[in-house]
């Protein structure tokens, strides 16, 4: 089965039809959970990076301070991904043909990979190689904000 066939089947599935044909306020509700989840995620990313950069909230050690916000990243991501899947299922062919959407998904994958590898390593210990520290700040800010910016562009491209 080609990708397009899979997507067509998805679009014609019960769930795809149900969402696609529902009132536009159902789509708006998914959008709201998408935005709120992403705002929580980005704010947590900013907070952790401020601590990693040593510019704010340095009274606690890095592992102590980052425990709560790094959990919140996953809460925000869950809200954004679940609502995002519902939005995607209603028109998968449309999204799949959108270059902003494709870019967003690649950035998202990269952001999650950096989050569970490099970032997890850096926030779990008190001091790491300063270059590793800087790299994780730059990568996480660029990738997560990149996901937001390209996501916002989907409707305009």
């Amino acid at each position: 089965m080609s990708t397009v066939e899979v997507l067509t089947a998805l679009q014609n599935s019960v769930l795809g039809h149900a969402i696609g044909k529902s009132d536009h306020l159902v789509g708006a509700t998914a959008q709201i959970f998408h935005v709120l989840g992403f705002v929580i995620l980005l704010a947590s990313v900013v907070l952790i990076n401020l601590r990693l950069a040593g510019v704010a909230l340095t009274a606690q050690s890095i592992p102590q301070f980052t425990r709560d916000p790094s959990r919140l990243i996953w809460v925000g991501l869950a809200s954004a991904v679940i609502s995002g899947i519902l939005m995607f299922v209603s028109a998968p062919l449309l999204y799949f043909a959108n270059p902003a959407f494709i870019t967003k998904i690649w950035l998202l994958l990269a952001a999650v990979i950096v989050q569970v590898t490099l970032y997890r390593h850096v926030i779990s210990r008190d001091s790491v190689n300063p270059w590793l520290n800087r790299a994780s700040i730059v990568f996480s800010l660029f990738l997560w904000f990149g996901v937001g910016v390209t996501g916002r562009a989907i409707g305009y491209i």
């Binding site: 536009h24 306020l25 789509g27 708006a28 959008q31 709201i32 935005v35 709120l36 992403f38 705002v39 929580i40 980005l42 704010a43 947590s44 900013v46 907070l47 401020l50 704010a56 909230l57 009274a59 606690q60 102590q64 301070f65 709560d68 916000p69 919140l72 904000f145 937001g148 910016v149 916002r152 562009a153 409707g155 305009y156 491209i157």
Partner: protein, 165 residues
Amino acid sequence: MSFIHELAQGLQASSVGVALAESAYAFPLIEALHLIGLSVSVGLIFLIDLRLIGVFLKNVPVTDLLHQLRPLVLGGFALIFLSGTLLFWSEAATIITSPALPFKFLFIAIGGVNALYFELKLAKQRPVIENQPVLPANVRYAGIASLFSWSVVIIAGRLIPYLPS
């Protein structure tokens, strides 16, 4: 009311309004800046609210969060205000007819007054300044009120294109 409509139409028809609306990149770019400003300012406020409610970063003094995040929160607000003005400029006549818009403005005002009251009154209480483990109930209520009003702002904002007149 018709005066406001005329004003909005005039704004949208002005050279800046037309230039923004007709540019392929300007509008999504400004939308992106609006989202970034929102995530930094309202997003950090959400995190501070969770701290005030007592469910997040319990070991970090409230005053540390308030003081050290303030420049970013205010900077983010400046960015939202600027980008929001430009977005409004390019779509004023359409946006003004959405019933979600007055809601958004109302709850920005409520969130702002709540934040001011917190800063000028509640944050000056002894248990907050001395970073005592148990904070007064009014601090928690202010956190809940803030979380609620800024959420409504985001929800109403997102509903603007979905709720035309």
